[in-house]
Amino acid sequence: MVTVTDNQENRVHFEAVVRSESGASVFEGTAAAQASVLERLAPPDGRAADAAAELQAIGFTIRHIGTYSVSGECDRGLWESTFGTVVEPHTRALHGQPGDEADESDQVTFLSHVPDVPFTVPERLSSLVERAYPQRPPVFFGSPIPPPLPYFHLRVPDDVALILRATAVHQHGVTGRGVLVAMTDTGFYRHPFYAAHGYQYQATLAPDATRVEHDEYGHGTAEAANIFAAARDIDFVGVKMGANPVLAFKTASDLHPAVLTNSWGFHLPGLSELPNYLKPLELAVLEAVRERGITVCFSAGNGHVAFPAMLPDVIAVGGVHARPAPGGTGFDLQASDYASSFDSLIYPGRHVPDVCGLVGMRPHAIYIALPVEPGDVIDRSLSGNDQTGADDGWAVISGTSAAAPQIAGVCALLKQAQPGLSPDLVKALLKASALDVVHGTSAMGEPAGEGHDGATGAGLVDADAAYRLARSIRTRNLLDLPSPR
C-alpha cells in the first residue's frame, strides 16, 4: 500500500470507465454527468465485474469495482503496452495554493498521459471499457467553514467574539484596524478560513525555520484564528519557529508589533531559580516589554508551571469554560480544570494567571473548532477524539494556547482605541474590567471565588468593559507627570 504522499514514478493508478448500457457517454461534453440522468450512464449488471476480470487477466491489479468505473493499478510498462500510449512523470505540491512553490518534502510525483499521444482501448476490452485514465493526487485544502459536529463547541469567530464581548466593541468600529499583532508558533498555513474572512494574515520565518507556507504540526494555524475572533481587522504576522524559540521571539519582537502573543512555554515545577538556558528568553521578553513597549501575552499552561507566563511583565492568560446557561440567558462560567494556576517560586509574589480566555475542560479540552493544515499532526491525531476528519483541515481544540491569542486580540482593540497604552496599563485595564468567575477549579485544584482568585486571576476578559475603560484614559507625558506604569 502507498499513501498519497508517496512518489509513484513507475506505477499507474487508474480508473477505467465501464461502457454504459444505453450507449451514453460521460465524456460527451463537459457537463455530461450533470445534464444526463445518471441511469443512462449506468452499465448493465455484471459489466463492471466483467471488465475487472478482463483487466485482471491482462495483468492489472484491481482495487475496487464501482458502478461506473473500475479502480486499479499496474506497472508503467503494462499500461503503455496495453493501451499503446506513453505516460510521463509529473511533480507538484500536495498542499498550498495555486502558484505556491513547494519544497521537495511537500512534492509528490505521479504518472499521467502525455498530451496528443494516441491511446487505444484494445479489442478485448473495448466492449467493456470506454476509456481509462491514470489518476493524480489531489491538492489538499480545508473548507473555510468547520464541519457540523454533534456536540457543544464554540466556533470562530462569532462564538468566541460574543462570549468575550468583543462583538460589542466591534459595533463601535473598534476592530483592531491599524494594529500589528505578532505570534510565534509552529507555522501559519494559509487556510481558506483566513482568506474567506478577509483577514490580514501573513507568515514569516524565524531565521532557523523553513517552509513558510506550511504548518506541519498545525498549532499556530489553529490558534491564530482566536486573535481574529477578538480583533478581525488587525494586521497579523505569524513567525514560524525553528529549533530556537528565543530566536523566533526575537524575530517577532524586531517587528515592533503592538501585541505579541505566544502559546508555548517551559514547565518548571518546583524551581526557585530560572535555569540558565532560559535566561536569554527572559532577556528577550523583558526587552520587548520594557524597552519596546510591546504588550506580550503568554499562555499560562495546561497544568504546567509555565515560563515565561510567570514573568511579571507579561500578561499570563489562563482558562475559563463557558456554556450556554439553562433557559438561554447568558453563559455559565467556571474555571477550566485544564488550565494552569500557580504562584511562581522564581518570581516571588507573582501569581499566574492574570486573566483568562476561553478554554475547554478535561480530559482533552475539546472546545473550539479551529482551522489546521489538512492532514497535519493535529488534524490526524485528534480526529478520533473530536469527530472531525483526519485530513479535513479542522480540529476542535483549546487549552490556554487558545486563550492567550484571544486576549491578545482584545489587547489589540485597546491599542486601537489608545495606541499609547503601556503594557502594564493594558494588563491593568484587562484585570480591572474582567468578569468575575466564582465556580470551578483550575488544573492545579485552586478554586475560583468572588473577586480575584487563584484559579482565574481577575476572571474572564470582558472586551467591552476593558474598552470602555481604555477609551477614557489620557496617557500622561512622562516629563509632566508620573507614568501610569
Binding site: A243, N244, P245, L247, G265, A284, E287, G301, S401
Partner: protein, 80 residues
C-alpha cells in the same frame, strides 16, 4: 546528516559585535543579535570549541575570551 545545535550567547557588555564576529570566524552561524546572540553550529564544532554540547560546565576558548560571558544551549518549548 549534520546535527545542528542552537544556542544563545551572552556577550560581554559593549563587545557584542566583536563577539559575533569571533563566533562567525570560528564557524558558527550568526542568526540574530540583540541582548543575546542567536547562533547555531554542528555538534562537532560545539565540542571542539567549548568541550561540551550541553548546558553544563564549559570552557570559554581563548578566541572568545573577553568577548563572551556565557553560552546557553536552547531547548524546544511545549505548545499549550
Amino acid at each position: 546528516m549534520t546535527y545542528l545545535i542552537s544556542a544563545e550567547v551572552l556577550a560581554v557588555e559593549g563587545r557584542e559585535r566583536a563577539a559575533a564576529a569571533a563566533l562567525r570566524d570560528l564557524g558558527f552561524r550568526i542568526l540574530h543579535g540583540g541582548g543575546t546572540i542567536s547562533v547555531s553550529g554542528p555538534k562537532e564544532l560545539w565540542e571542539r570549541t567549548f568541550g561540551t554540547t550541553g548546558n553544563g560546565r564549559r570552557e570559554i576558548p581563548a578566541e572568545l575570551a573577553g568577548l563572551v560571558r556565557d553560552v546557553y544551549v536552547v531547548e524546544p518549548p511545549e505548545f499549550f
